[in-house]
Symmetry: C2
Subunit: 253 residues, 2 copies
């Protein structure tokens, strides 16, 4: 059984990392990744609050960026209360766990991304995910503890596993990994940048983000990513050829 990887972005308190490990173990999860934990890793306090879920902490993998931490995963949902401007699908923990479960049944690597205690997730990082999970919090008191947010998603995951519905019928090829998508995005952005697309330059961030979300929603297969990169390469090469031709014509004049 493929299990979802839990990814904590820039978590601040080792106590919370331990509490997350504990609740992961409660619901049968064991793969934990940390992106730039504030106080470094490992931290004794995490073991103190993990209440014996040591194997989760001992298996922790540390990354420098969200994009590196999710590169090998095919479906990652970002848990956040504030979807803001992004246009990714926003789903409940229940629906998210159903989709992750279906993907796991189909052999795909899956994950859930959580933001730090204060700052939450960067929109740039949310844009790399396949959807947004929003826990139905009362707006009157919306500061949900990190371990509680993990608990609710892990609980929904396990409920799905135990209910063990027959896998839903799936047809066609699976979506590509985030690594392939990221390569495609960067290829596209490099070429667009060379073409002066990102104008004025300070708009690069928001423009690239919108592109990533826009393209990400279509869940490209590996073959489609290759096709898309072919498109980008062809278009940019064409531009170069056109330019070369213009230069050549000018020089002949």
């Amino acid at each position: 059984m493929i299990l979802p990887v839990i990814i904590l972005d820039r978590s601040q308190l080792a106590d919370n990392i331990g509490a997350v490990a504990r609740v992961m173990a409660n619901f049968g999860l064991d793969r934990l990744r940390l992106v730039s934990p504030r106080d470094g890793w490992p931290q004794d306090r995490a073991w103190a609050t993990a209440s014996g879920a040591d194997w989760v902490l001992e298996g922790v993998e540390v990354f420098d960026s969200v994009s590196a931490a999710i590169a090998d995963l095919t479906t990652v949902f970002a848990t956040t209360a504030r979807p803001r401007e992004t246009r990714l699908p926003v789903i409940t923990p229940r629906e998210a766990s159903r989709r992750l479960y279906d993907d796991a049944q189909a052999g795909r690597a899956i994950g859930l991304l959580f933001g730090g205690e204060r700052a939450g997730l960067e929109t740039t990082d949310i844009a790399l995910c396949q959807g947004i999970v929003t826990i139905p919090i009362d707006p009157k008191h919306h500061s949900l503890n990190l371990a509680q947010a993990v608990a609710i998603n892990a609980y929904e995951w396990r409920t799905n596993v135990l209910d063990a519905p027959p896998p839903r019928f799936k047809e066609g090829d699976p979506p590509a990994s985030n690594e392939l998508l990221l390569g495609m995005y960067e290829h596209l952005e490099r070429e667009l940048d060379a073409a002066g697309f990102f104008h004025p330059p300070e708009k690069f961030r928001s423009m690239s983000q919108n592109l990533r979300v826009m393209l990400g929603r279509s869940r490209f297969t590996e073959q489609e990513v290759a096709t898309m990169r072919g498109v980008v390469a062809a278009l940019s090469k064409g531009r170069g050829q056109k330019l070369a031709k213009m230069v050549a014509e000018k020089s002949r004049e």
Copy 2:
């Protein structure tokens, strides 16, 4: 909208009480009752971990026993991982929240009972409830943090409220309050004790418990409780009359 009361039996750490208040507020709950909290009440540490959910802590009610804390409620589910010998219905948090929601729609007072951090709930207290909620924990690591247990139930409650299905059709009179049931049980047990039913005496506890669970499952209405008490009174009065008659006959001999 009637909200479920959260009842914590003999909780040990004020930090946990605060964390419970926080997560209650996250999911729109605000009625918290404590049964004999180990370190007394109030405790500053609870306010420290409640992260601003002060109104929940300020509304806390303290009781000496679970039976007193649930007396005015009609439907209370005990959250425990270990149903042991009792024969109450065992349901998931999802099903529990559906039932509580239906009861709330019908105007009934509802609650969720949680045990202390180490000891859990006494079987005697579980026997007073209308059902057992078991969170689907991995048996490999079953020590679930108290606030997490509350979180999952509160989350299920809120999910139900937000999904807002039309109230299910209900017919007949509502079940009686726990106060009425308790009065009935005690009446019955008093009479049984006088009749030498609890033999040997050290079996009183387990025998009365089995009776309570057995009768509790039928969800008596107020009228039925009155009927039942009438039955008990009639039977015990009959026994007295028979005895008086025997004594009278003996003395006449």
